[in-house]
Structure formats: C-alpha cells, structure tokens
Symmetry: C2
Subunit: 369 residues, 2 copies
C-alpha cells in the first residue's frame, strides 16, 4: 500500500528503515511528513512499536512494494552484517547506512562478497544527548552536514538519490571518500571525545573542595565525557587507526609540555608552553561558525534575580522596546541567587536599549554600559 502520489518531493518511497533509534526514527518522521511511504524494522518489538506510534513509519507487511531505498540505522558493530542481509533481501534497492565510521563497513562488505554496487554509505552529522526513538525529531538534520561516501562502484544516480535524501531532510550533502570521512571525524569528533573522557576521568579522585572550584571552562571541556560508553567503544574501535594517529601527535606535544613543566625555569620551557597555547589559538580559529563573541553585535549584560518570571519579564520588555535580539546567552553562577543574561543586539540599538532597561529598573553590568 505504498502511496506513490503523496510524495511530491525529491525522495520517492517506499523507503525501508532498519533500526528505529534516534537516527532511524528521525529520518522516518521527516519522510512521513513529506508523504513518503516508510516501513520500519527493529529487532526490538517495543522500539518498533514506539517508533510507529510516534509516526515514523509503518510495519512492513507481506505484499508490500519492494523498497527503492533501505536505510540501515543500527548500532555500529552490526551495520556491516545488516547491510549485507538487506542487499541480499532487496535486490532492487539502494542500501545506505548512517554509521559514524565508513571505511570498515565497505571493506567488510567487499570481503563478504556482497553486491557493493548497490551500497552507498552516508553519515548525517546530527545527534542529541539522548538517544532512542523518543528523542527523534523530523528536523534533526536541518542545517547539518550529511556526508556521502561514494566508492568506485557507485553510479552517479545512486549518489544523487542520497543527495536528494539529505536535501529533502534539510541537511547539507558533503561528498567525501570513506577514508577522508574517517580521518575527518577522528579529528573533529572521536579524538575530542577521548580527550574529554581522559580529562573528566582525572576528577574521580578530586576532593569536594577541588571540584567546588570548577568553572565554565571545566564544564565545557568535559561535557561530552557524559556520552554513552557502549556506543563509543564501537565507534572508536571501528575508527581505531585514524584516531590513534591523531592521538599520537597529541601525545608527542603533551610530552613536550610535560617536559617543559618539569623544568619551568629552563631556557626554552616558557617558549615551549607558549607555542602550544598559541597553536591552540590558531586551531580554534579554524572552526567555522559561531564560537566566542560575534563582533557584529554589541553585548549587554543584565543581572537577573533567580526568581520565576524574571527572564521572561526581561525578554518581554526587550520586545516592548522593539529591539531585535540577535543572540542570547544565560550565565548561571551555581548556588547564586542571580544570573546574567547576555543580550546581543545591533550596535545602533545597544545604547537606547541599555538606557531603556535601566529606566525600567534592570541592573546592567558596568563593563557593557
């Protein structure tokens, strides 16, 4: 009972999604919104039930039309065998997966003698802190990169089919070889995960007085250390060689810094440490997008009592003043009865807004007046 007439967009079903977790259910939700016929499969009956109730698709039934596209969204360790089974079961379908490591899957399929001409790997760079179908969002992929990793057996039409899937879901298709992808995610995702875990691990032995000194820097550098170990063991194991390569360079520079710290008065030690700090400045400047202050805007910092309604009142009053909020950040002092709202507005509006807020009784931080 595929509904061919409803799908007016780039993607035409039936699409079969294997694995109804966060990514699988989110893809299903987004495709269903666009009228695409989606069938769902999951080895867990309760996961499947949940995703179906949620609107991510329907259970496959005998007599269904064959899928044109199969999306495998199962845990990393299972991807290769599930892709192999789907290639065999649906000989007319293009099969893709959404795993975060790509080279190993392709070579496992080649080793197994699977028909890789119908396999094209991909990796939507989207996720949430919570997994599972319950956290699925149709707009999970909006504005995110969606890497597609063609290989020598990939036909142009197959690449376009996945590109259409990414575009239809609001993502930005990015073409890379599987190797380029794996090197890239080692650097920007897998090594940061391990570095954060290793750093946070140091806090196990800390005294309460020590962790009581923690500020935003520690919170930011260790936030992702809260990630799911089971999932990450699979990811890191699948991308071990590229991750180890980046970590060896990291360790070599760490060794040099430790040497300098062990004899900080030695000639060359301060320079060695300064070089690492300066290299960090250069590296962080390479990350695109919003990081640090945005100098198109002027920041006003307003003190907010930690009472219900205060933030809403502030933002309502900014609306009443007719000033557009360009960006906004709330800064909490743990334990304090006060917070600071950083309000980013266009420079030409800043002075007027500051005066208006003060006349309404708000306290602005001196630095920004």
């Amino acid at each position: 009972m595929s509904n061919e007439s409803a799908a007016a967009g780039r993607v035409h079903g039936p699409v079969r999604i294997v694995g109804a977790g966060l990514l699988g259910a989110s893809i299903g939700l987004a495709l269903r919104e666009r009228g695409v016929d989606v069938t769902l499969a999951d080895t867990s009956r309760s996961n499947l039930r949940l995703a179906i109730d949620y609107g991510a698709g329907r259970a496959a039934t005998p007599g269904d039309d064959e899928p044109v596209l199969v999306v495998v969204a199962v845990p990393p360790d299972l991807v290769a065998e599930v892709v192999e089974a789907e290639l065999a079961a649906h000989p007319g379908a293009l099969v893709t997966d959404v795993a975060s490591v790509k080279s190993g899957i392709l070579s496992a399929l080649q080793d197994a003698g699977a028909d890789v001409s119908r396999y094209l790997g991909s990796h939507p760079m989207a996720g949430r802190e919570r997994g599972g179908a319950l956290s699925a969002r149709a707009d999970l992929f909006f504005g995110r990169p969606w890497v597609i990793t063609p290989h020598e057996a990939t036909a142009a039409a197959q690449y376009r089919a996945l590109e259409d899937l990414a575009l239809e879901l609001g993502a930005t298709p990015v073409r890379m070889t599987a190797e380029e992808h794996d090197e890239g995610v080692a650097l920007v995702s897998h090594v940061p995960q391990l570095v954060a875990s290793l750093l946070a691990a140091r806090l196990r032995g800390a005294t309460s007085a020590e962790v009581g000194l923690a500020g935003q820097g520690l919170r930011d550098t260790t936030r992702i250390a809260g990630s799911n170990p089971e999932l990450w063991v699979q990811i890191l194991g699948a991308n071990a060689a590229p991750v180890a390569r980046v970590l060896r360079d990291y360790r070599d520079e760490l060794d040099a810094v430790i040497d300098a710290l062990e004899d900080p008065a030695a000639s060359g030690s301060p320079r060695r440490i300064a070089e690492t700090l300066a290299a960090g400045n250069q590296g962080v400047a390479r990350i695109p997008g919003k990081h640090g202050r945005d100098d198109r805007y002027t920041a006003l910092i307003v003190k907010i009592d930690d009472r219900p309604g205060q933030l809403a009142r502030l933002l309502t009053e900014i609306g009443e003043e007719g000033v557009n909020l360009e960006d906004f950040r709330l800064e909490h002092s743990p334990g304090a009865q006060v917070g600071f709202a950083e309000i980013n507005v266009l420079p030409e509006a800043a002075h007027r807004l500051a005066a208006a807020l003060e006349s309404r009784g708000w306290t602005l931080a001196e630095g920004e007046r």
Copy 2:
C-alpha cells in the same frame, strides 16, 4: 580624604588597589558602590586613567590616610615583588593578591624576608573572556568562590577581613591552604586549559572539509583554547609541578588508550577503551552545578527562523502566556537559516505552553511535544 562615614558594610577603607585590570577595576567598582574609599595605582597611566574614569576609585594623593587593605592585582609574574614593595610601603596594612597560583608567592616573600604576617593570599575564581578595566563589572564576583589561603602567620582577624571583602562583593569565601588551592586549580582549570590547547592545536593541519564537520562537541572542548597565551604561560609556569603531576596521570591513561587503539581487536582492548569512557562518565558527574539537562524542568524545543526579531517575538509571547522561563538555550546550526530555542519550564506548564505556541504558529520539535 577618606570617607569613613559612607562605608556601612563589612569593608572599611581606605583600600588601595595596585593594578587596574579586569580584577582590580572590578573590585574597585564594587567597593566604590558601597561607599568605600578606594585608591588605584597602575604602572600604565592610561590604564589608571581609564579605571578612574570608570568609577573604580581615585588616584592616591600625598596626605591620604594609610590604606588598611592593599589588593595587588597585577600580572602573575609580578605579584611577589609588588606584594613585597607594598608590605614595605604600607606597614599598617594587610596585603592580599588575587593571582591564580598561590604557593610560589608566599615562598618568594618568605625567601625575600618580607613581613608575611601581613600577607594573606586570595584568589577570586572569576574572570571574563575579555580582560582590562573596560570589561570590569562590580558584580564579577557574585556567586563565585573566592579562595583565601591562610598560612601559619595569619591571624584570625586578618582572615576575617578578607572573608568580609569576599562576602561584601557577593562571593563565597573558601578556605584552603596555598598548596590545596594550587592542586585544585591545576585539576579544574590549568590542566583543562592545556588539554583544550593541545586538542585545538591538532586542527591547524586540518582541511576545510574536515573542520566543516565540526559540531558542538568540538566547539565546547576547544573554546578555552582561545585564551591569552601570555597570561597562561605565567599561570602555568607558576603552577608547573601540580599541573605536571595531573598531566602525567593523564598521559599514562592516554598511552593505554593509544595501545588499545593500535590493536583494537586484541582481547582487552575494547574493555580498556570502555574503562576510560566510563571513568569519564564518573568524573563529569562529580562537577557540581548545572551541567547537562536539569530534570526539574521540561524542555520544549522551538524552531526559530534566523530573521531579526524572531527570538524576541517567541520570548515575548511566552511572557504573554504567563509562563515562567526557568532556563533557556539557543542552538544554532552554523550556516542554517534556522535555530532551535530550548525553553525550560516547570512540567505542569509545559503541555499548556506547547499547545499555546503551536496555536500561535510556532513549530515545536517532535521529540518534545
């Protein structure tokens, strides 16, 4: 011309502040607000002028009353010699400093034969991304720990005087020995700084395609790598031994992880990696305060077009619905014409607000409906 009658709070002047940067000027602003007589000194005439214009205090003049408290707020490398000079110049005053490393200053003063019975070090754990008097805020210390590091020559009244300073400025006094403090900040501040710098340094050689894959995890783990190298070389040099100790443990565990990644199929390798990830989970859970989701509240995720006024309109309308915003976070997808506002409200208000926002035309993410 000290104004003894105006100071009704815990701190009575005159207070002399040496170094009119972010911390010195912020302390000055806060004390002036409370009517305390503050004199300022800075080797830079223009810094001094700026801080005075700003309202952080007045220039010292001949015939002034002697200060009862001197606060040394100069760059780390200069603290010991400036404290020594201030102890000699103001024999009736208690002298403190606000540097982020404490043991070295005390031992340098002892080595120099200074009157350490009038020196009591402290460290307000507050800062901003921008330094200088222009960034000063009277409320910079509000809700932050202010470590005070008494030593064997410290009298109880001296400790109370600094405790009063911290309390008057809204900070939470924390009593530690200089050694405890330095071990603590090595762990929660100095090592995270180096770890972030070393990680960000890896991005120098990245391709544009690779850094284009960066997500929030990389941004968070590397944000503080944008810090000022000149300042941090001084801090790390002054706390070299405790920082090196933590980093050696970090390196030992890093070595074990690299070994496991170099032979990921070996028995024991997955367990080794899983142990580090699990240790990271345990460590991050030790950090007090807001990190990750706050389960007292229900999060609603609302899609916001990246057009001026959209966020203000949303927040104004939440105000109109009479719902208290308990916390708020804006999530930007770099390059996307859309963002997501995560609105945290009390569970009992969430359902009503979600319905009200949808009827006003907002799109809520499926996961949170």
